[in-house]
């Protein structure tokens, strides 16, 4: 048994080695093509993902990772329940927009405004997700399609609102006014990383506990694995669907609020759409096969390759398009490697059951 396990670990290590060798090989080829020094580019990549003066680049990675991981956690709740909610982007935008507008118009002490705005953002995100759920349950529009389609109206509505009625005219941009400075999330002392990541960490923790240890999470997962089964054993499938979507949307809304209060301090047109937080969140979840504890790590991974690639582009003379290609190559190889490992480990688990 022991040797079996050791050889499995060894096999795993070897296949990771092979994947890394592939990545390195392809990247080396690319670098050679554009005449960029490989070693320098590689160290620039790592330096810019995790290093910097006073770890400032690591902070940038973490700040990005927070938003990606937040979206990943939101998506994970849906996906594990078998709900193909790819409307995270719309829910994120709804959250960000409502957070900014609420903070601009709510009276009261800053802490109250902050709290109420975050709550409002979560409600808005949940509402937008519920809309997709209701479309499915009552109007027969499949969730996959409905949630995807709903991304567009909210994006343009938000764009219109900050381009016209709520625009900060003096700024010359399509953006709302700055939210009151007292509501900004503070930075960790000595860094430029805002404490928004704590909100995301809390949400992740909630999601992990929810998925593994709660009755509701268990029921949602059963529904995800087999809706027919869930119906047959009498799980409240419709209610589960709506509740899960609401939860998922609320977390997306929270992410929007964190982006507003922590990073941009206002709603800027496109600030939540262009960086593809929602899509990156989706692939972060899928990369690790929806295993809850691995989802935040996966978010960090994607953030790191994004900031690393951007940094490499800045300092090693690697053109931006090569940095893009490089990201794609890394994702492709890592994705296939991780999926393989997951399949292998689930087979081991299933096979090893007898002996245990």
């Amino acid at each position: 048994m022991r040797t079996l396990r050791e050889s499995a670990v060894l096999r795993e290590a070897v296949s990771w080695g092979v994947a890394l060798a592939w990545i390195a090989g392809v990247l080396f080829l690319l670098m050679a093509l554009v005449g960029a020094p490989f070693g320098e580019a590689l160290s620039a990549f790592l330096q810019n993902a995790f290093g910097g003066r006073r770890l400032s680049y690591l902070m940038a990675t973490l700040s990005r990772a927070a938003l990606i991981a937040g979206m990943a956690v939101s998506v994970m709740l849906s996906f594990r329940a078998g709900l193909f909610n790819i409307g995270g982007e719309g829910q994120l935008v709804a959250g960000g927009l409502v957070a900014a507008l609420a903070a601009l118009f709510l009276p009261g002490p800053p802490l109250f405004v902050l709290g109420a705005s975050i709550l409002a953002a979560m409600v808005a995100g949940a509402g937008w997700a519920l809309l997709a759920g209701l479309l499915q349950l009552h109007l027969g529009v499949p969730l996959l399609v409905g949630s995807l389609l709903l991304n567009y109206p909210i994006r343009y509505i938000a764009s219109y609102l900050v381009a016209h009625p709520f625009r900060d005219v003096q700024s010359g941009m399509v953006q709302s006014h700055l939210v009151p400075q007292a509501t900004w999330l503070p930075y960790f002392p000595g860094t430029r990383l805002d404490i928004g990541i704590l909100f995301i960490a809390a949400a992740s923790l909630f999601a992990i506990i929810y998925s593994h240890f709660t009755l509701h999470g268990y029921h949602a997962r059963m529904n995800g694995l087999s809706p027919a089964f869930a119906r047959t054993v009498g799980l409240p499938v419709g209610k589960l669907t709506l509740q899960t979507l609401a939860m998922s949307g609320a977390i997306a809304g929270l992410v929007g609020a964190v982006a507003v209060f922590g990073v941009h301090h206002r709603y800027i047109d496109g600030m939540l759409v262009q960086p593809l937080y929602a899509w990156t969140g989706i692939i972060a979840v899928l990369l690790v096969g929806m295993i809850p504890w691995a989802v935040p790590l996966s978010g960090l991974f994607f953030a790191a390759i994004q900031t690393g690639a951007a940094g490499m582009e800045r300092s090693a003379g690697v053109p931006k398009e090569i940095a893009l290609v490089m990201q794609a190559v890394i994702i492709l190889f890592v994705a296939s490697r991780v999926s393989g490992a997951l399949v292998a480990s689930s087979e081991r688990r299933a096979g090893g059951g007898e002996g245990a």
Binding site: M1, F213, T214, L215, H216, Y218, H219, R221, M222, L225, S226, A228, F229, A230, R231, T232, V233, G234, L235, P236, S346, E347, R348, R349, A350, G351, G352, G353, E354, G355, A356
Partner: protein, 508 residues
């Protein structure tokens, strides 16, 4: 050309589990070779090896004395092997014809499939073997029995020389079974080799020339049927003495637990109903009938999985017509669905997760909103022990269990709820003799303890063995009622099939 197939020293392991261990077996042309054994004994796995679906860790396949290695079923098919799988391999959205030609399409110009050629060839084959089936119906609308016919036709169409049938009869009506057996006999006469996996020893006695008995992955006995007896085979399967025959205790039924009045449900072909029936405490009411005559729709309406168009359903005296599944179950209903793969279990979840789903006593395995995993595992272990489920443990994935063990898990979970009403739909489908006996025993025990049991089965013997009253369904209505003690095959068979041959559509 007749062909001799031999399996030599086959061993298959799934992780730490040895599913087949050093099995050698010869399949002769012109013979029906029955393979029997308990659930999980490794029958399907062994045949999957022969058919190229599973690569063995050791051993060889020999055709006419030559060693072969299959890289995929395509090799096996090319060499004249055909297999009807235990779980159907059909495309629901496609028509019967499309399903049959799939993977063996007679292609004409530009690779377009020559359906008319296939159609005429099929018509010949069907006539030859006395099979009738509408070729243009989508498989989604076929009953399980009809789907089985499609699978057999598929094999016929491919002109297989060695036919492997994995539990082909478990869903057939007696008539359908007789027709299949007639076909198999004509194959035997034509010199083809047939492997028949079944749990029904009567069928073995009726048709087989040679019998192989497997237990726990090993071949325990193999030889000509004439050299053995039914009792000996049965003892070989269970590995010991046979359970004694069951005695039915006389019991007067109590209050009605389930009352259905003028129920109408939307069905696959037109509305089902109006139906009225009652099931009392302490009785088993059996519903017999050819699959696809509305039994499924009736059960769906009673369980709440499909809405009733009209009529009323009452459970324990409470109207439940407009309640959802969950509330009906809480009021006192358990349900063993026919389709264990899809409805009975979540295959991707663990045994424990499957065992605890739908429990009413949530307090027993939760603390507030949180799960008590240990309590869940204890509960699952209890079921595994009580229902003798052969599986690694509560944390094994449900997908890795053999068909019979899956069924036992579903039955165990539902019966453990101890509700006034138990609905069982083909509860012993594909289950070995030991388990059949066990499940029957459990259903009888429920009855004796005063539960009401509604049993739907296409297996006439099963209905007759268990029921206090038998309702026969035909064309969406109840065609007649017989008391269990007075039931005989002739009467019931007439009721369920009197006009059934007219109902089967002709070959298009």
């Amino acid at each position: 050309m007749p062909m001799r197939v031999a399996l030599c020293g086959i061993t298959v392991r799934f992780g730490a589990l040895t599913a087949v261990e050093d099995v050698s077996l010869a399949i002769e042309p012109g013979e029906v070779h029955a393979v029997v054994g308990e659930n999980g004994a490794g029958k399907t796995t062994l045949m999957n090896v022969l058919f190229g679906l599973v690569a063995p860790q050791a051993g060889a396949i020999r055709l006419d004395g030559q060693d072969r290695r299959w890289t995929s079923p395509q090799d096996a098919i090319r060499h004249g092997l055909g297999m009807v799988h235990q779980h159907f391999m059909l495309q629901e959205s496609m028509s019967v014809l499309e399903n049959i030609v799939l993977c063996a399409e007679p292609a004409g110009r530009f690779g377009l499939v020559d359906f008319s050629a296939a159609r005429s060839r099929l018509r010949r084959i069907a006539e030859q073997h006395g099979i009738s089936l509408a070729l243009d119906r989508p498989v989604a609308r076929l009953s399980v029995g009809e789907r089985q016919v499609v699978e057999v036709l598929k094999m016929l169409y491919r002109q297989a020389e060695v036919l492997i049938l994995d539990e082909p009869t478990s869903v057939l009506t007696p008539q359908e079974k007789d027709r299949l057996f007639a076909t198999l006999r004509s194959f035997r006469t034509a010199g083809k080799a047939i492997v028949l996996i079944t749990h029904k020893l009567d069928e073995v006695m009726e048709l087989a020339d040679r019998v192989s008995v497997m237990r726990a992955g090993r071949l325990v006995w193999s030889g000509r049927l004439s050299q053995t007896s039914k009792e000996e085979i049965a003892r070989g399967i269970v590995g010991g003495a046979l359970p004694p025959a069951r005695q039915r205790a006389v019991r007067t039924p109590g209050e009605p637990v389930l009352a259905v009045r003028d129920l109408e449900v939307a069905g696959r072909s037109g509305a089902v109903g109006p139906l009225s029936l009652r099931v009392h405490a302490g009785e088993i009411v059996g519903i017999a009938g050819v699959a696809g005559n509305g039994q499924g729709e009736l059960i769906q309406a009673i369980t709440g999985l499909a809405p009733a168009l009209s009529g009323e359903i009452a459970l324990c005296g409470r109207p439940v017509t407009h309640l959802d599944v969950e509330r009906r179950r809480r009021l006192g209903m358990s349900y063993i669905p026919e389709d264990r793969q899809r409805m009975g279990l979540a295959l991707g979840a663990t045994v424990s997760e499957n065992a605890n789903a739908g429990r009413d006593d949530r307090r027993a395995f939760t603390r507030g909103p949180f799960l008590d995993r240990a309590a869940m595992a204890r509960f699952a272990s209890g079921l595994i022990e009580r229902f003798r489920i052969r599986v690694g443990g509560p944390s094994a994935l449900a997908a890795t269990m053999s068909g019979g063990n899956k069924q036992k898990l579903v039955v165990g979970r539902e019966l453990a709820r101890n509700t006034p009403l138990v609905i069982a739909e083909n509860p012993t489908w594909g289950v070995d003799i030991g388990a059949i006996d066990f499940i029957h025993g459990e259903l009888m025990r429920m009855r004796d303890e005063g539960h009401a049991v509604l049993l739907v089965s296409t297996e006439l013997d099963e209905v007759m063995a268990l029921s206090d009253r038998i309702l026969v369904m035909y064309a969406g209505a109840i065609a007649g009622e017989v008391a269990g003690t007075e039931a005989d095959r002739e009467t019931i068979g007439r009721m369920m099939t009197s006009r059934a041959h007219q109902a089967l559509p002709e070959v298009a």
